[in-house]
C-alpha cells in the first residue's frame, strides 16, 4: 500500500490539519508516513497544501508529484493539482466552492458539498472534516477511530471541546461517500 495524497485549499480552511491527522493516524496504525506542508511569507491569504504519504514500506520522496488522491477544498487548488493525479486515482473536491467538476475521465471524482454541510452543522470551520470523512470512507487508508484518536494528540488541549463537532462532520462526510459508493461508478463521476 502506498497512498500519496495532496490536501489543498485556501489558507485557513484547515487542510494542513486534516493532512496531519491522516499522517498521525497512519503512524498510530504502524504505517510509514510523512507530511510536508507548503509555506510562505506571513502576509498572504493565498493557498495552502500538504503532501502526505502513508505507506507499508519506508517513505522515499516526501514530495508528492503523482498523487493517488487529491482533496481540493477550493477552485485554485483543484485547477492546479487535478492534472497531477495519477490515472485511476481519486479526486475529492468541495462542490460548495467549485461549480464544475475537473475535466478528467480517467480518475474517480467525488463532489462533496463540504461548506454546505459544515454550515448545516453550524460551523463552517468543519468543512475540512467533512471532506476528510469522505476521503477516509473512500480509501480506508486509516481508520476513522484512529483519526479521532490522532485529533486528541494533534489539537491543543484547549481545543478539545471541538472534537465532538468534528466527529459529526467526519460522519457526514462518510455518509456522503457511502451514498456515492452504493451507486454505479459510471453514473456518478462528477455527481453533485
Amino acid at each position: 500500500m502506498q497512498e500519496q495524497v495532496i490536501f489543498a485549499g485556501f489558507g485557513g480552511q484547515g487542510v494542513l490539519l486534516i493532512g496531519q491527522l491522516v499522517t498521525y493516524a497512519g503512524m498510530i496504525e504502524g504505517a510509514h508516513v510523512s507530511w510536508m506542508p507548503s509555506y510562505g511569507p506571513e502576509m498572504r491569504g493565498g493557498t495552502a497544501n500538504c503532501h502526505v504519504v502513508v505507506s507499508s514500506k519506508e517513505v522515499s520522496s516526501p514530495l508528492v508529484t503523482e498523487p493517488t488522491s487529491l482533496i481540493a477544498l477550493n477552485k485554485p487548488s483543484l485547477d492546479k493539482f487535478a492534472p497531477w493525479v495519477e490515472r485511476g486515482g481519486l479526486i475529492i473536491y468541495n462542490s460548495s466552492l467549485v461549480e464544475s467538476p475537473p475535466e478528467r475521465t480517467d480518475v474517480r471524482v467525488l463532489a462533496v458539498p463540504a461548506n454546505k454541510v459544515a454550515n448545516e452543522l453550524g460551523d463552517l470551520r468543519t468543512a475540512n472534516m467533512v471532506a476528510l470523512g469522505a476521503y477516509l470512507a473512500t480509501t480506508r487508508v486509516v481508520g476513522c477511530d484512529t483519526v479521532l484518536d490522532a485529533m486528541k494528540r494533534v489539537l491543543p488541549e484547549r481545543r478539545h471541546n471541538l472534537i465532538p463537532l468534528n466527529r459529526q462532520a467526519l460522519a457526514r462526510g462518510i455518509e456522503i461517500a457511502s451514498v456515492w459508493h452504493s451507486r454505479d461508478p459510471g453514473e456518478v463521476s462528477g455527481a453533485q
Binding site: 496531519q20 507530511w35 509555506y39 511569507p41 517513505v59 522515499s60 520522496s61 514530495l63
Partner: protein, 353 residues
C-alpha cells in the same frame, strides 16, 4: 527507546540539542527554520537553559563564540543568507578550535533568493565559506529521525575534535513531519574542556585567540589543524547505500535529493534497470574512497542535486575520470521529481553514456 512521536524536522533538531545537553541557544529569525528558535524560546526556560534572540546572525554567531569559549554546549541555527553573515565567526571558531553546532536549513539563493529548499550552500559548507585554511565537519541528514540523531552526534563530534560541526539540511527537511523516536546520547568519551576561559582559578590563565602574528607559528598552527582534519577524515566518514551492489547506474545524492533519487530508483528497478544509490552523510569529510569502491562495478554515475552542480565536483574527484559522471540538478528552490530523475536515468542508459 522512547515512543514514536510525529515531529517537524526543525523541531527535531531543537529537541535533539536539548537531549544532547545543549543549554545555550542564540539565533535570529529566518524562514524556513523559525520553528527552531521558537521551540527553543519555549523549551530552554523549562530546562534551565538560555535562549537569546540575537540582534543579527553576526551577533548570534559571536555569542556562540563566547559561550563556546566559556565551555558551553552551544548551538545556533539559520538559513542561507544568515549563514553567510556568520562566516566571520565560523572562521574564528575554527581557528580557535572551539566546539559548537551550526545548522543551515538551506534555501534558494544567491542573495535574498527565496524560501524554498535548496542545496546550493554545499560549497560554502564544505570548501570554506569563511577565510583561511579550515574545515567544518558537515553532516547531511535525509530524514527527521536523522536530523534528530545527527544533531546529537554533532555535539559529541564538536567536543571530541574541538571543531565547529554543521548540520546541513534544507527547507523540505526542516518543514516536513515524520515519526521520530527521540534519540539518546551515548556517553562519548570526551576530553575535559581544560582550555575554556572560565576563570584562572588554581591554574595558569587560559587565552583563546586566533591571532598569530609570527607566520612561522601560524604555519605550525595550520599544520596542526591539518593533522586534525586528516584524523577526522580517517575517522568520521559516513554514508549509506541503497541497491548499489549490482547497480550499473549509480546515483549519488544527499539529503532530500537522496529521498527523491530513491523513489526514482524504485521506479527504474520496476522497469528492470539496475540502478542504485550512494548517499554521502558526511559531506565533509566526503566519502571519496567509499564512493570510488561502490562505483567500481558501475558503468556510470549520476549525481542529483538541488543546485547548479556542487557536490558533483567531489563525485568527479572520487571517480577520477574512470567512468562518466552525469549531473541532474534543479535549483532556486525547485526540487527534482522522481519522474524527472527516472527520465534522466533512462536517457543515459539508452544512449549508453
Amino acid at each position: 527507546m522512547g515512543e514514536k512521536v510525529l515531529m517537524k524536522g526543525n523541531e527535531a533538531i531543537a529537541e535533539a540539542a536539548i537531549l544532547a545537553g545543549c543549554r545555550h541557544f542564540f539565533g535570529y529569525p529566518i524562514t524556513p527554520q523559525n520553528e527552531i528558535p521558537e521551540y527553543m524560546s519555549r523549551r530552554m526556560p523549562e530546562v534551565g537553559g538560555v535562549f537569546l534572540q540575537a540582534e543579527s546572525e553576526v551577533a548570534g554567531s559571536n555569542m556562540v563564540y563566547g559561550a563556546a569559549c566559556a565551555g558551553a554546549r552551544v548551538m545556533t541555527t539559520s538559513s542561507s543568507p544568515g549563514i553567510s553573515l556568520m562566516q566571520e565567526a565560523v572562521s574564528y571558531m575554527a581557528g580557535a578550535e572551539l566546539p559548537c553546532v551550526l545548522v543551515n536549513i538551506v534555501r534558494g539563493g544567491p542573495g535574498l533568493g527565496g524560501i524554498q529548499g535548496s542545496q546550493a550552500d554545499y560549497f560554502q559548507a564544505t570548501k570554506g565559506g569563511g577565510h583561511g585554511d579550515y574545515k567544518l565537519i558537515v553532516l547531511a541528514p535525509a530524514s527527521v529521525q536523522e536530523l534528530m540523531d545527527l544533531t546529537i552526534t554533532a555535539f559529541d563530534l564538536a567536543d571530541m575534535y574541538r571543531n565547529p560541526v554543521m548540520i546541513m539540511g534544507d527547507a523540505i527537511l526542516g518543514q516536513m513531519m515524520e515519526p521520530v523516536i527521540p534519540g539518546r546520547r551515548e556517553k562519548a568519551d570526551l576530553p575535559p574542556k581544560t582550555w575554556a576561559t572560565v576563570g584562572a582559578k588554581m591554574r595558569p590563565k587560559n587565552v583563546i585567540t586566533s591571532l598569530s602574528l609570527d607566520p612561522a607559528k601560524l604555519e605550525q598552527h595550520n599544520f596542526n589543524l591539518g593533522k586534525k582534519y586528516r584524523r577526522i577524515a580517517d575517522e568520521q566518514v559516513r554514508y549509506k547505500t541503497y541497491m548499489a551492489d549490482d547497480a550499473e547506474t549509480l546515483l549519488v545524492a544527499y539529503g532530500t535529493c537522496a529521498r527523491i533519487a530513491q523513489a526514482a530508483i524504485d521506479m527504474a528497478r520496476e522497469r528492470g534497470l539496475r540502478v542504485g544509490l550512494f548517499r554521502p552523510i558526511s559531506l565533509w569529510p566526503f566519502p571519496y574512497d567509499a564512493l570510488q569502491q561502490t562505483a567500481e562495478e558501475s558503468l556510470r554515475v549520476l549525481t542529483v542535486e538541488m543546485s547548479l552542480g556542487q557536490m558533483v565536483e567531489d563525485v568527479r574527484l572520487a571517480i577520477l575520470g574512470t567512468k562518466p559522471v552525469h549531473f541532474h540538478g534543479r535549483t532556486g528552490g525547485m526540487t527534482p521529481t522522481p519522474r524527472e530523475v527516472l527520465d534522466e536515468i533512462e536517457r543515459i542508459v539508452e544512449e549508453g553514456i
